[in-house]
Amino acid sequence: MSWFWVLDYLVLALVLACAVLTVAVRNLNGAVMALSALGTVLTVLFVILGAPDVAHSEAVVGAIALPVLYLVAIGKSRTDVARDANLGEERSREQT
């Protein structure tokens, strides 16, 4: 049963790395992708900790529904923000 701890610590490290990436990535869309990766890794951790029903809802909400909400919010606010305001995006994406 000691192999359980190896898997637990590995997935915990991935959760921590995804959280740090969500904070540290300057690009707004990239931060949303890091949040989606956090939801996916957290699903694996919930299965390991013996909660498959929580893992069901986390797989749908944390990995899919929440990033889609963020992307819709970013897309709707991009058309309204003034041109020189910084939306936190990369330079190459702003011409499109």
């Binding site: 915990l12 969500t22 949040l35 909660a51 809802s57 944390g62």
Partner: protein
């Protein structure tokens, strides 16, 4: 005794708090709130877990065990897991409300910067 899970939950919560306190972009602030919610889910499921326990579902028990033996044996705490399930559903609704408020702010003030919104209010 899974101290590492509690410490990771605390670290993720601190990352979300750091995002809320220091970033100026409103969508990034809502993202920090989502990180804090994720830390809460992790803490609740870690509290529900006991050593060498399995899921509190009686369907498809492991080999050599009947559902009665599984119910009397070592399973995780289902009450905290149901709390966590409720918290996930409420969390996505709260995030949707916050994001709609952010979109209304962007339509009204033409900016997403928290400091500029504060200046424009006068």
């Amino acid at each position: 005794m899974i101290v590492a899970n509690y410490l990771t939950a605390a670290a993720v919560f601190c990352a979300g708090l750091y995002t809320v306190l220091t970033r100026r972009n409103l969508i990034k602030i809502v993202m920090g709130l989502s990180l804090m919610e994720a830390a809460t889910y992790l803490l609740m499921v870690s509290l529900a877990y006991r050593a060498d326990s399995t899921a509190p579902v009686l369907l498809n028990p492991p080999r050599g065990q009947s559902p009665q033996q599984l119910a009397e044996g070592n399973v995780a705490d289902p009450v905290l897991q149901n709390f966590c399930l409720t918290a996930i559903v409420i969390g996505v609704a709260v995030t949707a409300v916050f994001l709609s408020v952010v979109v209304r702010i962007a339509q009204h003030y033409r900016t997403l910067d928290a400091d500029q919104v504060r200046e424009l209010r006068g």
